[in-house]
Symmetry: C2
Subunit: 243 residues, 2 copies
């Protein structure tokens, strides 16, 4: 039976613990390679064991089952995406809200095109019979929307956010949800901006998903970079960012 990770022990790790951690890292690394090559649904613990040079039952000493390996890869991918987004956003001056927004979008798309299988694991159809454990993924899984709302909140506080386009009234229960989110995230933006931010968020991933999953026809759009740039510009307007 796999051992639970030792709970924050103050002692230095024993050699065995170090070896164990290294083996788990190897498993995740090989799993990532297989994920990139064959996709999540084809991820096989036996194949990982073969690449690790070990018999299949041995990896069950480190990973409870296939699901747990998927969870490890999920968290790994979420963090990679989050790192990429954070780096792209912080490469621009703090006051350049539109630039940061565009950088965020481009970073998401670039990462998705670079790691389509990981992207599919995060944002595609859920792997059947697999429900990601919320307590292990909710942190890294929210990094993109946190970064996006942080940009919008910064723009709002700086007075650079202008409401353009129609502003549909917010139904009462929706406003309540949004108020709760605003409080939890410590945001200054009003609920209406929050709602538009959510739309921009889902729209961004909708555009990326269509591209990664091949929903556009095979050769409908040759100018995909330009198409995405256009979409991003319109979405910036939806969010209220200056052009």
């Amino acid at each position: 039976m796999p051992q639970p990770a030792p709970a924050l022990s103050l002692k230095p790790p024993t050699p065995r613990e170090r070896a164990r951690a290294r083996t788990i890292r190897d498993i995740v690394r090989i799993g990532r390679e297989h994920l990139a090559l064959h996709g999540a649904a084809a991820l096989s613990l036996r194949a990982v064991a073969r690449d690790l040079g070990v018999v299949s039952s041995a990896v069950y000493r480190y990973v409870e089952n296939r699901e747990e390996l998927l969870t490890l890869l999920l968290v790994d991918a979420y963090n990679e995406l989050g790192d990429a987004v954070d780096a792209a956003v912080e490469a621009l001056p703090q006051g350049d809200f539109s630039g940061r927004f565009a950088a965020l979008g481009v970073a998401v798309r670039n990462w998705a095109l670079r790691e389509p299988a990981s992207y599919a694991l995060l944002f595609g159809s859920p792997v059947p019979g697999y429900q990601a454990p919320a307590e292990r993924t909710s942190g890294p899984g929210t990094r993109v929307i946190v970064a996006l709302m942080s940009v919008l909140d910064g723009a709002w506080r700086a007075g650079s956010l202008s409401g353009a386009g129609p502003h549909p009234a917010l139904a009462v229960p929706l406003a309540a949800d949004l108020a709760k989110i605003r409080a939890e995230m410590g945001l200054a933006v009003p609920e209406a901006v929050l709602a538009r931010g959510a739309l921009v968020w889902t729209s961004l991933f909708g555009a990326v998903s269509f591209e990664v999953f091949g929903q556009y026809g095979a050769d409908t759009f040759a100018a995909r970079d330009e198409l995405f740039a256009h979409h991003l510009a319109v979405l910036a307007g939806v969010a209220g960012l200056p052009t």
Copy 2:
């Protein structure tokens, strides 16, 4: 080896052909049930055979392999979605462009929530090792975007389409792609509207996918109907439809 469908014969179908067609329909029906219950990646020809009361090798007389069954289910699902969307759109008067747009969006969402596994098959991560044959899916697969662009084109021809929000310039290669699409679909709308229509299209599916695939937190949004209605209203504005 499975027989190819008889090529448009003028003769009436023989009893054997009728029985064959009925068996294939049964296979698809059972496949749909399994798809709805367990998802695409867990779809098993052997399980379908069991439900059909037949040994596993027998279904290979009718379906070449698992992929072909997935293709049959894919086309089936595309047509179901297309029918639902068409019915919803045509339930409203031809001149009510905003109403038709909203009805289209609601129809997509309702169908997706009713048939999440089918929706995942169409718009989620591609099933690994499976590439949908374009010649069998491109027709039914484009029905939603055709219906959407038809609404926008009608509104444009009626002079009800106003450009709101920023209008980013279209890069030359993008404009070329859009011009080609416009010609192929016989549309009157200018390229800029086409580009926004594409964004609205992907955004609609992005919002639906996040909901169906559980990307929103488990209980982040209680008012999902209202959230979607809000998003649809904003997207209508993005498309230029009157509020």
